[in-house]
């Protein structure tokens, strides 16, 4: 399985770890990571890309779906540990204006 999520209740964050290819094949697994959560107002979502080696435009679409589901502009989603290639894909699409990136 290349998408896993872990919930830390104490500091109010939900971390989703992506490994391998991040593309349309992971759609359902990825969605399940945030569908079943019951985020509070201050819940922070962290997508840890340290294990991801590839990302395509349908994965960008999946990130948009997540952002919309979690309240659009009110959503608090960070992308961390992106490889240079993945960072490039995200910045070409100017996703730094929608997501927090390190």
């Amino acid at each position: 399985m290349s998408v896993t999520s872990e919930v830390s209740t104490d500091d109010n964050t939900i971390t989703i770890k992506i490994s391998g290819r991040f593309d349309f094949a992971e759609q359902n697994e990825f969605r399940d990571c945030y569908y079943d959560t019951s985020p509070g107002e201050n819940t922070q979502f962290i997508i840890d890309m340290s294990g991801a080696n590839y990302m395509d435009s349908s994965a960008l679409g999946m990130l948009l779906m997540m952002r919309e589901y979690l309240g659009g502009n009110a959503a608090n989603i960070s992308l961390i540990n992106c490889s240079p290639d993945i960072k490039n894909i995200l910045t070409v699409a100017n996703f730094q204006s929608l997501f927090t990136m390190d």
């Binding site: 948009l64 779906m65 699409a93 100017n94």
Partner: protein
């Protein structure tokens, strides 16, 4: 599925073909007790006949019968039922292997040796009927799939034709444009559109939808119609991308969007304007420098993501020089993989520009390098690229086809007039030209003269705004990098504009050949000494004088009034 499958619900029918009547009666009794429906035949000919009429589910076949033996009857029955499985069980007295081999060769599925053991016979019959049912289910599903596939193929073909019609109404195939568009599936996820502007120059849109195939093709419809429609009416690329964004945001699901780069190549001002949302940097190759001199990175989100309120329509404008080359490409180029899974990448692309020795071959060099690198590897994504060589004369000569206009029925020449006043706050954010041209052409038709009319309106309005209201100094344009400075300054002054207004008055009078169109533009600026400047204006050959020269060739009369803040032109058409 079970609803459509007409099988197991009905009672199975078994045909017994045997010339021995007692034999038949014994079998009939056994089968009817089992709940089967039984049909009978005296010989092979009758068996084939009954089979054709009644379509039984299974046949018990004696071998030796008058008129036609069991082998031949079986062959004919099997030939009649090629798309269904009808089990045939031979009833035989012999158990010699040669006879049994003949049973199988003629199409028999099993054989049963007399005298019959009831339990064994029942077991064989029900086993074969189960196989028949299984076979029919598979057959049914295969037919369903077949039909689906056929319907899907038909629809795909239709959509492909539709898509091609939409995309290919563009004006690619211009002498200064080279492009490649290589879709990996039936429809491309990439689109490439180009259209000449009514004021001269060209708009180009290179777009890349999330995914490819049908979703991409559906999204391409509104994009191309907005792009072509608004370009023909004289709208700017900022207004065009705003409109496309609104449309796509409305119709596309959240996870589908269009990375797009839209450019405006303007031979009047030697400028290139770029709106880039999600497409790799636009590269400018300087003819003089023989290297990439500018790179315009994506500044915006792709189209179809931002809401109307947060959409950013800001366009970047740079100066462009004769024979400079502009390159725009989708990420399919840099992400093209070789058989080892390595990507072509930005560096290899830039290396082509460094290694090149003849700029006319740049486009081919890139393409060849790409093919060499891929080395027959499978194409992963749509690969689209366009090269535009800036050639002022060729761009100005690019004919604007006014398709909408030429199809309209001829309108009688009539009398009308209207006026329009624009205050400072509106001048800062609204371009009245598309609206003006559209209104004038709607009222009078002006077959094939839209481009000329656009030039007249555009020159008059731009002069009033730039010089009358904004007080811009056109001599600034005379210097090498003056154009860019001029337009930067223009933008600054326009956004800070607090005072001033422009009035436009348009009147039409019919005459025997066509009519006379009078356009008067008045601004609240301080004007200029037109009597003193008249001669120098007419002999002016620099960039900044072009406007007036152009007006002189199109209009019958140009007259300045007041303190030079009012200008009136007369345009005669026939």
């Amino acid at each position: 599925m079970s609803e459509n499958m007409p099988l197991s619900s009905k009672i199975p029918t078994v045909l017994i073909a045997d010339d021995d009547i007692p034999n038949r009666l014994v079998l009939q009794a056994i089968l009817e007790r089992q709940g089967y429906c039984v049909l009978q035949a005296d010989d092979g000919v009758q068996a084939v006949d009954v089979f054709r009429r009644e379509h039984p589910d299974l046949v018990l076949m004696d071998i030796k019968m008058p008129n036609m033996d069991g082998y031949e009857a079986t062959r004919q029955i099997k030939a009649m039922s090629t798309d269904a499985f009808i089990p045939v069980i031979f009833l035989t007295a012999t158990s010699d292997s040669e006879g049994l081999a003949r049973c199988v060769a003629s199409g028999g599925d099993d054989f049963f040796t007399k005298p019959y053991k009831r339990i064994l016979l029942q077991a064989r019959i029900s086993a074969l009927l189960r196989i028949r049912e299984l076979y029919n289910t598979v057959q049914y599903q295969r037919n369903e799939l077949d039909n689906h596939q056929k319907r899907f193929d038909r629809e795909k073909q239709l959509a492909k034709r539709l898509f091609a019609n939409i995309i290919e109404t563009g004006s690619l195939g211009l002498p200064y444009v080279q492009s490649m568009l290589s879709p990996m599936s039936l429809f491309s996820g990439d689109i490439l559109l180009a259209a000449p502007k009514p004021s001269g120059g060209l708009h180009v849109l290179l777009g890349d939808f999330t995914g490819h195939g049908l979703t991409a093709a559906i999204g391409a419809l509104p994009v191309s119609s907005v792009f072509y429609g608004m370009t023909a009416k004289g709208y700017s690329i900022a207004e065009i991308v705003t409109e496309i964004n609104t449309k796509l945001k409305m119709i596309l699901p959240t996870d589908i969007f269009l990375a797009a780069c839209v450019i405006d190549l303007n031979p009047g001002s030697h400028t290139l304007s770029v709106w880039n949302g999600g497409i790799p940097s636009v590269m400018i190759y300087g003819e003089k420098e023989q290297e990439i001199t500018r790179s315009l990175p994506p500044r915006h989100l792709p189209l179809g993501i931002a809401s109307d309120e947060s959409f950013n329509q800001r366009v970047e404008m740079i100066e462009i020089r004769q024979n400079d080359r502009i390159y725009i490409h989708s990420d399919g180029i840099t992400e093209a993989a070789n058989p080892e899974g390595l990507m072509f990448g930005r560096q290899r692309l830039e290396d082509v520009f460094v290694k090149n020795t003849d700029s006319a071959e740049l486009f081919n060099d890139i393409r060849n390098e790409l093919i060499k690198f891929q080395d027959g590897g499978a194409q992963q994504d749509d690969m689209t690229m366009i090269e535009l060589r800036y050639n002022q004369q060729q761009l100005e000569d690019t004919v604007f086809h006014d398709k909408a206009q030429s199809k309209r029925a001829e309108q009688p020449s009539s009398t009308w007039d209207f006026s329009m006043g624009l205050s400072a706050d509106l001048l800062g954010c609204f371009d009245p030209l598309p609206l003006l041209i559209q209104s004038v052409c709607d009222m009078q038709g002006f077959r094939g003269q839209r481009q000329q009319l656009y030039t007249v309106f555009s020159e008059l309005f731009t002069n009033a705004l730039d010089h009358g209201i904004l007080n811009l100094d056109s001599t600034l344009k005379g210097t090498a990098d003056g154009f860019a400075k001029y337009y930067m300054e223009r933008e600054v002054r326009l956004s800070n504009l607090a005072d001033g207004s422009i009035k436009i008055y348009v009147a039409h009078q019919p005459n025997a050949e066509g009519g006379l169109l009078t356009i008067r533009v008045e601004d609240t600026g301080s004007g200029f000494d037109y009597q003193e400047n008249q001669i120098s204006l007419e002999s002016n050959v620099g960039h900044s004088g072009r406007g007036i020269q152009l007006l002189n060739t199109i209009c019958e009369k140009i007259e300045y009034m007041g303190n030079g803040n009012i200008v009136e032109v007369t345009y005669r058409w026939r």
